[in-house]
């Protein structure tokens, strides 16, 4: 068992270095985001986000170290227990939680709050991995798929109840893990098509144009159909009618089901200049901040946009603005390259596992990071609607940082011991 605890030789130092690099750069940017020239504050000032973030980083290092010395079987063995506990806590949150920024997602512990939903991510990842890794699991069985979707659906639903749509959406990224583990791509393709249609419906103000486009495509397909089989024509027509139905329903969903602030976020994505001081404020300001950075950036602590608080939530969800403004395109390239490298490294780690549990867990980590990375940066540069989720290791906040740290270091711990576990491939 001694060898069990000393993993310094076998842990993946590339990932650990990437982790340190991202956290350190993130911390500097949090300071830049809250920096006030006149106040002569120190980066260590505990009244600033940067000072507190340093405490969170310290705590996350302790957590990371603790994870590496705990017995590796602990995570797989207790995965379902954790899962049950987190479900229970998530049920409690709306009852005993405190409200922060319109979301009731926090539980107060002493003077600061903890966001249980951040921990639900790694716990759900463990539970899914355990189920996928269990003996006799077959992805093609409908029952297995149902159980998997239930595993992600339960925490997702509870988080939706907290009105934290962004975090809830993160759980959809597990579907990608199912795909890697053998689920038919049909569902993914349908999903992507639906999303494309959804966006098209939003971009084109009058659905009539879409109906006309579909009708034209239908006629072309029928004309191109060489054998002119009656059955095929009927099939194509039914398909076209169904798609039209989807469009109509999207129109309905956007206009009648989504709340006004959610509608506005989507509208802001389509045309942020329509109301630059209203619902488009975040995206417009974010783009202005990033765009004003130019190629080389304005320099560390020299940003006018972020420093003077034009961008809201800039040390949390919009932290990428600070990077873009102060470090320019070069800084953006470095950060994006670092993230892509991390993602590819995690895929590499996952693929080298001999154990299905670890591989599924590894892909869960990759997919969660990917979702955060893609959605967060996508929203700050105006490619995605504003969904309030943090940029891993960059955004200010203890719970998120700890959640991501745990997520990553459990994988590193499992990876370090990959030689010891040979069962159940």
């Amino acid at each position: 068992m001694r060898r069990d605890n000393d993993i310094s030789g076998s842990i993946d130092w590339t990932t650990v270095m990437l982790f340190f690099g991202l956290v350190a750069f993130g911390w500097l940017n949090i300071f830049a985001a809250v920096y006030d020239e006149n106040a002569k504050q120190s980066i260590f000032d505990l009244s600033l986000n940067s000072g507190r973030q340093l405490l969170f980083i310290g705590a996350s290092l302790i957590i990371a170290f603790a994870i590496t010395i705990v017995d590796l079987r602990f995570y797989e063995t207790f995965a379902y227990v954790f899962y049950a506990v987190i479900l229970f806590v998530l049920i409690l949150v709306p009852i005993i939680g405190k409200e922060v920024g319109g979301n009731k997602a926090w539980i107060g512990i002493g003077s600061f709050g903890v966001q249980p939903s951040e921990f639900a991510k790694f716990i759900t990842a463990l539970a899914i991995a355990k189920y996928i890794g269990s003996v006799g699991f077959r992805m093609d069985s409908l029952r297995s798929q149902a159980i998997l979707f239930a595993l992600i659906g339960l925490p997702m639903g509870l988080i939706l109840l907290q009105k934290d749509t962004g975090t809830a959406l993160v759980f959809t990224s597990f579907v990608l893990v199912f795909f890697r583990e053998g689920m038919s791509p049909f569902l993914l393709i349908v999903g992507i098509c639906a999303a494309t249609l959804f966006v098209l419906t939003l971009l084109i103000p009058d659905p009539v144009y879409l109906y006309i486009a579909i009708a034209i495509i239908l006629v072309l397909l029928i004309l191109l159909e060489k054998r002119k089989k009656f059955g095929r024509i009927v099939l194509l027509t039914v398909g076209a009618l169904m798609i039209s139905g989807v469009i109509a329903s999207v129109d309905y969903v956007v206009k009648d089901v989504l709340k006004p602030h959610q509608q506005n976020r989507i509208k802001a994505l389509i045309n942020p200049d329509a109301d630059p001081l209203g619902f488009g404020w975040n995206v417009t300001q974010s783009k202005i901040a990033i765009g004003s950075g130019g190629f080389f950036g304005k320099g560390f602590l020299k940003g006018t946009q972020t420093k003077f608080d034009f961008v809201p939530e800039q040390s949390t969800d919009f932290i990428f603005c600070t990077i873009g403004e102060e470090h320019g395109w070069i800084g953006s390239v470095i950060v994006i390259a670092a993230f892509v490298t991390l993602l590819l490294r995690i895929v590499y780690l996952a693929e080298r596992q001999k154990n299905r549990f670890t591989r599924a867990y590894g892909y869960s980590v990759a997919c969660i990071f990917f979702f955060h990375f893609a959605v967060n940066i996508g929203m700050t540069v105006g490619l995605f609607p504003v969904i309030g989720i943090p940029l891993p290791f960059f955004s200010y906040g203890g719970s998120a940082l700890w959640g991501f740290t745990i997520l990553l270091f459990i994988l590193l711990k499992l990876d370090a011991h990959r030689g010891q576990v040979l069962q159940r491939i």
Partner: protein, 609 residues
Amino acid sequence: MNEGRKEIFQIVFVLVGLVFLVKLFFVQVVNRRYAELANSNSILRQVEYPFRGLIYDRNGKLIVYNTPEYDLEVIVNDVKNFDSANFCKVFGLTREELRLRFKELKARKKEYSPVKPMLFIDKLSNEDLAKVQDHLDEFPGFFVQARTTRAYTSAGFANALGYVSEISKEAMKKDASGIYKQGDYIGQSGIESFYEDQLRGKRGLRFKLRDVKGIDRGPFDNGRYDTLSVPGQDLISSIDLDLQQYAEKLMNGKAGSIVAIEPSTGEILTLVSGPSYDPNLLTGKNYSSNFKTISSDTMKPLFNRPLMAQYRPGSIFKIVQALTALQEGVITPETRIPCIRKGFGGIMDCHGPHTNEDLRGAIANSCNPYFHSVLRRMLNQNKSTDTYQDTRIGLAEWDKHVNSFGFGNKLGIDLPNEKNGLIPTPKYYDGAYNNKPWKFSNIYSIAIGEGENLVVPLQMANFVATVANRGFYYTPHLIKSIGKEGKPLQQYLEKHYTTVDSSNFIIAVDAMQRVVESGTGQWFAKLPDVIVCGKTGTVQNEPFPDHSVFIAFAPRDNPKIAISVYVENAGQGARAGASIASLMIERYLFKQTRRQYLEDYVLAGKFLD
């Protein structure tokens, strides 16, 4: 079966990264719009308001000036350790009032911001300020903001001066210059409005860094792009403040107007609209409540009568008829027409002690039937055998002359809202008679200034100045110099000649001299040591008392002052109008009032007894 799926993940990850980099390259490097936007975002253009130009009278007396005003403002977030008892003591408020003020502050909702300066107590007096200043440091978050407002040395002349107030939303929309912003002050009427460009000066600009809350973070680039404000130009008015104040005193309690012009220049010496208001009421503290009171007054003090009140001119129009008829050659000064007393309808009835006057006598005695015939000769010159057509030709000719006196159109005084008046044209009567034919017998009442024609008091004054000049006028104006040693606007330096010969004007002058010496004006308008030329008018106003009109100029040779007086519902022109005009002439020429009894008579205002 899962072959190749790893690669799909890898490809997607790299692809998303590349999409971001390309998008960021466009946002950050290719498109420079964002950098510009960032500048407008964080750099605040702060306007430094110049001092508005001052206005002096023709003798160098100050009329309008600027006075500093102090508001107490508060930044709610900066308020610390607020000692309300002490605050009440220093500012002389009760606790209840203090509470109310805080309540009002937060009730402003949209405007309210805890990080921006908010008005807390407006318009502290100078004494208040002195008292408060020593204590200000005891109340962090509160500070005094200075600004200037307009103040007036005298309580009169309000309608001509106009006032200054916040620019309206509609005016903002119309403003193409882009100079004004919401909340800016702008001249709203009178001279303040007409000479806005000259008075406002040039604003200074300061560029300051600020954050999203609008908090000042020091000058941008050490103030390299800042410009200083340039004060507005002072204006020298042609108004004689002493005469103006005297005229206002005479008009007190009456509705109507007095306009006095220096004929040789067109400079307006006096411009009175009665009733008026104190211009100090429409500045500063109680602007909105006072404005409401003034604008809802049934006597319409905001209605600038000299320019806007379109009256029938009455018998003073007989001078116009005489001039046009002489010019057309349809009468001579010696033409005698018997006064038939009655017979053309009630309006033309005549009562005076005259029977068969020549032109001068008819004017002196204001004989109505005489001018009935004069206009008939003017309009029906037998240029066409069709009497209807003949009248049309005659009227068109008449219009040409009358318009050349400045009637029927805006004169172009340097004040806004001037009215045209109305000189009926053939077209006008076509409309009035629904395109049915009309002839002299339908329209004869214009012969004595009754009927359809309308003039504003300014046009009457300009007309009498034209007679004083024997045939030309300068457009009346209120500002004789822009800047201390300047000139008036170019258009006020141009002579306007009428279509009537100077020799005919001399006949009119003779007649007007007789009006005052031995005619209708002899009782109230005569002055012992100066020849006054005038004409009375009594304008029918059934069922109310007649309006009293008098126009005059003096001295007869080298005239110094031309004046029109119009007093609503004051009866005969020979009384109210003539008395006021003669008192004004005396005041201007001799700088004193020598007939106290006449002044008392005017001040008493009982002209109908």
